[in-house]
Symmetry: C2
Subunit: 188 residues, 2 copies
């Protein structure tokens, strides 16, 4: 039996350096709030506001370090709150991303960068070898007890520095009665 | 293969006659907004506000007709919005229900009546016979495509006047990318 720790990814934003400077000012740097499980990744102290017309969501946490491209990850519940149709996509793929306005203390930008992240597994090269998994593979994971769910369409992402865990969004976690910190069972 | 229509139950409230009159005034009657799938059940025009301390959710639709006991059905996402721990329970079982304040145009009441409804199947006596199901049976249902999920811990509810369908809450529907109107596959 292959088990995997479950983590819940609440809504967050990754920013490129140019977008970050437009929102926070030139020369500004992110402050560490806390480290998260993936190596070198951290939740920053800084937050932004997302806006679509007259609808907005405040307190969107920035996840650092800066990335090549700005990307916002929301749940379907939050997409509805914003009155937006947001595509499901593998994190990093913003080809079809929905347009949103991002508001920071020093400026705002509108761009096509919002996705609902497809649930995924982070696997290191060693994990992939050990469990006979490959990058892009689609697997299922059984999670939960009182609200047990088998999540299908879980994409495996393999990278040298990844840390073995399953990332669900808040809708998925709530539907399965999960808070994060539980363990799922891989079904290949 | 046994298929079942999927319905999404958004947050709502069922009211007893005494509670209804406390909220809306003596002699007041619900107005029909639209009929819903279960025989004789309807969404009413009337709405209430739910409050827990300084947190509230507005526009909670009343589902009629009146019931013997007042019951509020929320999602885990909404429980979090209200800062409440709300138990998962089979609809009708409010023994462990969480306390909330219900506010209507003519009054307000505080009582232990909020649950997260366990996902369930409505089956008539004929459906139960046809598919060899019994009241209280726990089954699984496979739903969705791009975000396919197998929901385990689905309770079967059998009553003469029930109409064959699967009821999911909004968290469950969003996690599986469902809007309602799709079809699930029963796994017994």
């Amino acid at each position: 039996m292959i088990t995997i720790p479950i983590e819940v990814s609440a809504r967050h934003i990754h920013l490129s350096r140019p977008d970050f400077e437009l929102l926070f000012g030139i020369g500004y740097h992110l402050a560490l709030f806390k480290n998260i499980s993936q190596t070198g990744q951290y939740a920053a102290m800084e937050k932004v506001i997302l806006e679509n017309g007259d609808k907005k969501i405040e307190n969107i946490r920035i996840v650092g370090p800066e990335r090549r491209e700005t990307q916002i990850e929301l749940s379907l519940t939050e997409a509805r709150q914003l009155g937006l149709t947001i595509p499901l996509a593998v994190s990093g793929d913003i080809a079809q991303a929905a347009k949103l306005t991002i508001i920071g203390p020093q400026g705002q930008i509108s761009k096509n960068c919002a996705i609902i992240a497809q649930r995924h597994i982070h696997a290191s090269l060693k994990d992939a070898e050990k469990y006979h998994l490959h990058d892009g593979q689609i697997v299922s994971v059984e999670c939960g007890t009182q609200r047990a769910v088998i999540f299908r369409q879980v994409v495996v992402r393999v990278r040298a520095d990844f840390v073995w865990n399953l990332h669900l969004d808040t809708d998925e976690a709530n539907a399965a009665g999960l808070q994060g910190g539980e363990t799922g069972i891989l079904i290949i």
